[in-house]
């Protein structure tokens, strides 16, 4: 199962026909304590790079962008009550949304796990 990353620190993990989107461990650490996540409605069509969600830490609000184009098929409703899950388990229980993948070619333009770790090293 491959996970790809954007330069804005979103991850997208393909699971069958759909993909799980969230933020990287580096991103959650940079944000600090997450206190609120605003999620899109199921069924919303997202273009690659469009605002998909908003994550708020104590200090600031940050936009989360769609890593690829597609349609939202599920959102992580648990984040409403326990937004801190994003900090505790960003790659697992702290996921944001699931979406369809309109054009699998868009995934190729994103970074692999290895490339992303290099990228994080280069900016830290």
């Amino acid at each position: 199962m491959s996970t790809r990353y954007t330069k804005d620190h979103e991850y997208i993990r393909v699971e069958g026909d759909t993909a799980v989107v969230g933020i990287s461990d580096y991103a959650q650490a940079q944000l600090g304590d997450v206190v609120y996540v605003e999620l899109p409605s199921v069924g919303k069509a997202l273009a690659k790079g469009a605002e998909a969600a908003v994550v708020e830490s104590v200090k600031a609000a940050s936009e989360i962008y769609a890593p690829v184009s597609g349609e939202v098929v599920a959102v992580n409703a648990e984040l409403e009550a326990t937004p801190g899950t994003v900090n505790e388990d960003p790659a697992g229980r702290g996921w944001f949304l699931k979406m369809t993948i309109k054009d699998a070619g868009e995934l190729d333009a994103l970074m692999s796990e290895e490339q992303y770790q290099e990228f994080v090293k280069s900016i830290s």
């Binding site: 206190v35 830490s57 609000a61």
Partner: protein, 381 residues
């Protein structure tokens, strides 16, 4: 999630190396490279300060003395009263007051702390603490308005450390016996581990605590000495902001500025009776009129419903869509465990409990005017 830019010309406080060694995330603030948080994070730091004692480096703030050549408190107090609306003449030695430097139209140029220096041989001295971002402008303004015989002496060689929280008195008393007996808004000169400190029972968190001025060269030793106590943890600017917001305290440049008067800002408590009646400060006519008739708009606390924080700049409207104001500070209050905000609204919708809408990312969220402070003050009265 842009990384802060570290400009070479950024100033450093005497405690800069301490913050870096503690693993703080440093950000530019008011021209200084300052710790926004330490590795434990803002939420933990905020809660620690409410439950134990937090240590803050606020050395970026401006510390200055106003000195009357004739060594008369009356002379220096009258000179400052020309610039601020608070009663300075009646200050007792070592007493401190919160006030504002006012523009001629009654707008606020900065807010500041004023203390009558009580140390022997300093009759006719006032100690001022002003905001970091405003100190150059404040000093120029004050100097341009001083009468002959009164001089302003900024002290760049001083550090300022805040020790805040319910354990602060016990922590400081261990080193400076008697510190626990100091009343709120009073100050004293003490020795801590052989280091000279000017302490005042005050702060910016709503908690009991102290602001501690010391020589820059002694600051790191003092800082480490406090941190050696397990009740004390370092706290960054992030938690400083959430703590003061829950305490309902104004942040200059956000909740108060040249477009707001002290009356609109709800700071009438800082204008003592004699000054309200006599005037004699910049903007006195407007301020006396606003006291008498009530201002057209006022700063209020606002509690958004739900979990979404409303931040600075959010439009405030009535439920039927009439725009009535703007949020000037807003975020998540860890002690409240929910969003809190403050802002200015038309006086007709300023009563506690009034239903309002806050426009967040284009969508209205329900909110109510709330009494401030959100978290009760726990000052030592």
């Amino acid at each position: 999630m842009a990384e802060p830019v570290h400009a070479d010309e950024t100033l450093k406080t005497p405690l800069h190396a301490e913050h870096v060694a503690l693993g703080a995330r440093m950000v530019p603030f008011a021209g200084y490279d300052m710790p926004v948080q330490y590795p434990t994070g803002i939420m933990t730091e905020h809660n620690w300060t409410r439950e134990h004692a937090g240590l803050f480096d606020v050395s970026h703030m401006g510390q200055a003395f106003l000195i009357a050549e004739d060594k008369s408190h009356e002379t220096v107090a009258r000179a400052l009263e020309m610039l601020i609306p608070s009663d300075v003449v009646s200050l007792k030695p070592n007493q401190q007051r919160y006030s504002q430097l006012l523009a001629d139209d009654g707008g606020i140029l900065d807010d500041l702390m004023v203390t009558r220096v009580g140390a022997p041989g300093h009759e006719g001295w006032l100690y001022l603490v002003v905001n970091a971002s405003m100190k150059d402008a404040d000093y120029a303004h004050i100097r341009s308005r001083l009468p002959k015989g009164v001089t302003l002496n900024p002290k760049d060689g001083l550090a300022l450390i805040a020790l805040q929280g319910p354990s602060a008195a016990a922590v400081l008393s261990e080193k400076a016996p008697g510190a626990a007996d100091l009343p709120f808004m009073m100050s004293a000169d003490v020795q801590v581990d052989g280091i000279w400190c000017h302490i005042s029972r005050s702060g910016y968190t709503g908690e009991d605590g102290y602001e501690i001025s010391t020589h820059a060269g002694d600051a790191a030793k003092l800082w480490r000495s406090f941190l050696a106590n397990p009740e004390v943890k370092p706290i960054g600017l992030g938690a400083r902001d959430s703590l003061r917001l829950e305490a309902g305290l104004c942040l200059y440049g956000h909740d108060i500025d040249t477009t707001t008067s002290p009356i609109e800002a709800g700071l009438i408590w800082s204008i003592q009776k004699r000054r309200r009646e006599e005037g004699g400060f910049p903007g006195a006519a407007r301020i006396q009129r606003e006291i008498k008739d009530g201002p057209a708009r006022v700063r209020v606390g606002i509690k958004p419903e739900g979990r979404a924080p409303a931040r600075e700049g959010a439009i405030i409207a009535t439920p039927d869509g009439r725009e009535v104001g703007i949020v000037t500070s807003g975020g998540f209050g860890p002690t409240i465990n929910g969003p809190v905000a403050m802002g200015y609204v038309s006086s007709d919708v300023s009563a506690v409990g009034t239903d309002l809408h806050l426009v967040v990312r284009g969508k209205p969220i329900a909110a109510k005017v709330a009494a401030m402070p959100f978290a009760p003050h726990r000052y030592k009265r």
